[in-house]
């Protein structure tokens, strides 16, 4: 008898692990399945995507939901592995019967899930992966991109850098897709905008490189005017620390996409180097509008920390899903897609819309430089120059041409 009890307990525990005891979905809810990395370094961004999403969902549900239905969500950890991510997405669709998929920070997973979503005709909102293939080559009717991609970030930086007097450039970065994509996007566009620039050298390091001192001392010996540093994640911080320790940040200005983001600057506190150029598509302190202040305060009150750019993305994703269904007037995926195309919503940083032709969210980019601010105990992005989406987004023709290939 006791044995049977233990066995059944174990069985129930295993079932519990499979999520069968997670809140059961009923027919009068909209179900969203979120696949993302919740273990490893990427969690610093993905947790904010989720928290931002949940913040918005709770607000929507408190106001009675969407067309009388509440939004529910289930999450799965893909451990930064595309095969696991795809399996999780399939499981969410088959077992949990989710209506909508959201995720991921990993571009490989985003592309795999996107392909699956196309076959299953399920809308998929890409929250933080930056590959341009998501909307470009591999783009389709069911995928939406809710943040900027490498091509857009690179163009935005090139627009801002073309106005600066630098001539001799050095490019360095992570030796994998994201690094090369960012570097190519900045450089190719910069060359077009300012034909005077010249490239005097390149260096590439392995993904996850911790010590940049040997790279930096080598670059300083070559004496470029400006350095494009194509790196991401925790390497951003590593590079900035090495740049400060070697005095690079005082001698040669450099640019890193997301250098000015909270995720990069927060952990270093006041020790971060000043004068680093960076681009970001959300800053909780800029623009200083009442709407942005309200969002930051709301997030702060709920989670006891400032929202990162990924929190903003999660928040807006939930808003677009809800407003899309409201505009469609019924809970139907095809109607939702139609409704989202060209939908314009108020956001903490002003009105944002989803471009109808390629399902890309049109975001402004802030090109700024790190500086101290007495209000915060970490560095902020100063002298922010707003690069409008019209100035840096690839045109519909360019994107659709990629898709036909």
């Amino acid at each position: 008898m006791r044995k049977a009890f233990y066995v059944s307990m174990c069985f129930m525990f295993i079932l519990g692990l499979f999520g069968l005891f997670s809140p059961a979905f009923s027919a009068d809810t909209i179900k969203v399945g979120i696949v993302d990395t919740y273990s490893g370094p990427a969690t610093t961004y993905t947790q904010d995507v989720l928290d931002g999403f949940v913040l918005a969902v709770n607000k929507i549900n408190a106001k009675g939901g969407v067309l009388g239905k509440k939004i529910e969500y289930a999450t799965r950890d893909e451990k930064f592995k595309p095969d696991i991510g795809l399996a999780m997405a399939k499981e969410l669709v088959m077992k949990e019967k989710v209506d909508i998929l959201v995720g991921t920070i990993n571009s490989g997973t985003a592309l795999a899930v996107s392909d699956f979503a196309r076959k299953e005709k399920i809308p998929f909102f890409v929250t933080y992966a930056k590959s341009e293939k998501i909307i470009g080559e591999a783009g389709h009717r069911y995928v939406f991109n809710m943040n900027e991609n490498t091509e857009m970030a690179g163009r935005a930086a090139a627009v801002a850098l073309a106005k600066k007097p630098f001539v001799k450039y050095w490019i360095c970065g992570d030796d994998y897709e994201y690094g090369h994509a960012i570097a190519d996007a900045v450089w190719n566009n910069l060359q077009k905008l300012n034909p005077k620039v010249q490239l005097i050298g390149k260096s590439w390091w392995k993904l996850g490189e911790a010590d940049f001192t040997p790279y930096i001392t080598q670059i300083m010996g070559a004496k470029p005017d400006f350095i494009i540093v194509a790196t991401g994640g925790s390497s951003m911080v590593n590079f900035q620390k090495a740049a400060k320790a070697t005095g690079l940040s005082q001698k040669i200005p450099f640019y890193q996409h997301t250098a000015t983001e909270l995720g990069t600057l927060l952990s270093q506190g006041k020790e971060a180097p000043e004068g680093v150029y960076g681009t970001s598509h959300y800053l909780f302190y800029f623009p200083e509008s009442p709407a942005n202040k309200a969002f930051a305060e709301e997030f702060m009150k709920t989670y006891k920390r400032y929202p990162k750019s990924s929190a903003f993305v999660g928040y807006m994703t939930a808003q677009f899903i809800a407003e899309g269904f409201k505009k469609a007037g019924k809970i139907d995926n095809e109607a939702l897609i139609k409704a989202l195309e060209g939908l314009k919503l108020d956001s903490p940083i002003g009105p944002l819309s989803i471009r109808a032709c390629d399902h890309q969210l049109e975001l402004p980019t802030y090109f700024g430089v790190t500086k101290k601010d007495p209000k915060y105990d970490f560095l902020v992005s100063g002298n922010n120059q707003i690069v409008s989406p019209n100035d840096y987004m690839p045109t519909c023709e360019e994107v659709l041409k990629l898709r036909k290939k």
Binding site: G40, T43, E209, D211, T213, T246, G269
Partner: protein
């Protein structure tokens, strides 16, 4: 100085110095790993996790004592000790029961430990990146060869490396536990037969090895972002260093770390676009000519 520059350009000299300071961390961590491998015969995959835990602990200590000198020195002393205590608990609680079994079992156990430690770190410190400030006395840089700046903290590492090497040499060669450990590495049955409690010898050696991992973590913390996953990058390099040096040979670890660190920093100078391949090329070349490693393996 000019006559030196005529033979070796300042950039090369500079890269050698940067490479040597990087070698310090690699040597400290991989010597601990090599020690454990030589005496206990455990390829300790969790070694990198202890290094990561060390780095996270120094973050906490730096926070408690403020980023100044006190916090830094406290971390350098307290972190290795705390990591050693943690390792002792793991060794007495888990590892000691598997010494009689196949190596594969121990390997699996250390792998499991590394996964558990990874999750523990996430539970205790969260998923955010952490940053430990460089203590004020080591902030800044000095112009070295040809005026290329060299970080003061790296200068400090250049001193720490040899100090640790000498202390290790003294422990291994001049103390009783060192002599017993060396004997146990060669023939553990014989050591047991002369009435020495081999199990406790193993525990102490394991502790010393892990202490070095913790020290490595405390030393590296001010130069990098302390983050989940920093164990994976390191463990790969440490394994390669241990292999090219000769399994279980501490001086092999020193030699391996030197080859690894220097081939990287000089490789960057020769071909910056493919700087990453030079340490691996060095590993391949070493293994082609000496498949068992440069120095005598204790296996």
């Amino acid at each position: 100085m000019d006559f030196i520059y005529a033979v070796v350009p300042p950039q090369v000299l500079n890269q050698i110095f940067v490479g040597l300071s990087r070698t310090t961390i690699l040597f400290i961590v991989s010597s601990g790993m090599s020690l454990i491998l030589g005496v206990l015969r455990i390829p300790n995959v969790a070694h990198g996790s202890l290094y990561m835990i060390g780095a996270f602990m120094s973050f906490t200590i730096a926070k408690v004592f403020g980023g100044g000198a006190t916090g830094f020195w406290m971390a350098l002393v307290l972190v290795p000790v705390a990591v050693a205590v943690l390792s002792l608990i793991v060794e007495r609680g888990l590892f000691q029961f598997l010494y009689e079994r196949e190596h594969l079992m121990l390997l699996l156990l250390t792998f499991a430990c590394s996964l558990v430690f990874g999750d523990l770190v996430k539970l205790v410190w969260g998923a955010e990146y952490k940053s430990v400030p460089v203590p004020h006395m080591f902030q800044g840089f000095v112009p070295l060869f040809g005026g290329i700046p060299f970080p003061l903290y790296n200068m400090f590492l250049l001193i720490v490396g040899p100090v640790v090497a000498v202390i290790l040499w003294l422990i291994v060669n001049k103390t009783k536990i060192g002599k017993i450990a060396r004997a146990a590495a060669v023939d553990r049955e014989m050591v047991g037969a002369v009435g020495i409690n081999v199990s406790w010898v193993f525990a102490v050696v394991f502790m010393i090895g892990c202490l070095l991992a913790g020290l490595g973590g405390a030393l590296v913390a001010p130069t990098v972002s302390v983050t989940l996953g920093m164990d994976h990058t390191l463990i790969m390099e440490a394994f390669l260093i241990v292999i090219i040096g000769g399994l279980g040979n501490i001086w092999g670890a020193l030699l391996g770390a030197l080859i690894f660190g220097l081939s990287q920093s000089l490789g960057i100078l020769i071909w910056p676009q493919f700087g990453i391949i030079f340490p691996y090329l060095a590993v391949i070349i070493v293994l082609l000519f000496r498949p068992t490693g440069l120095l005598k393996s204790t296996w």
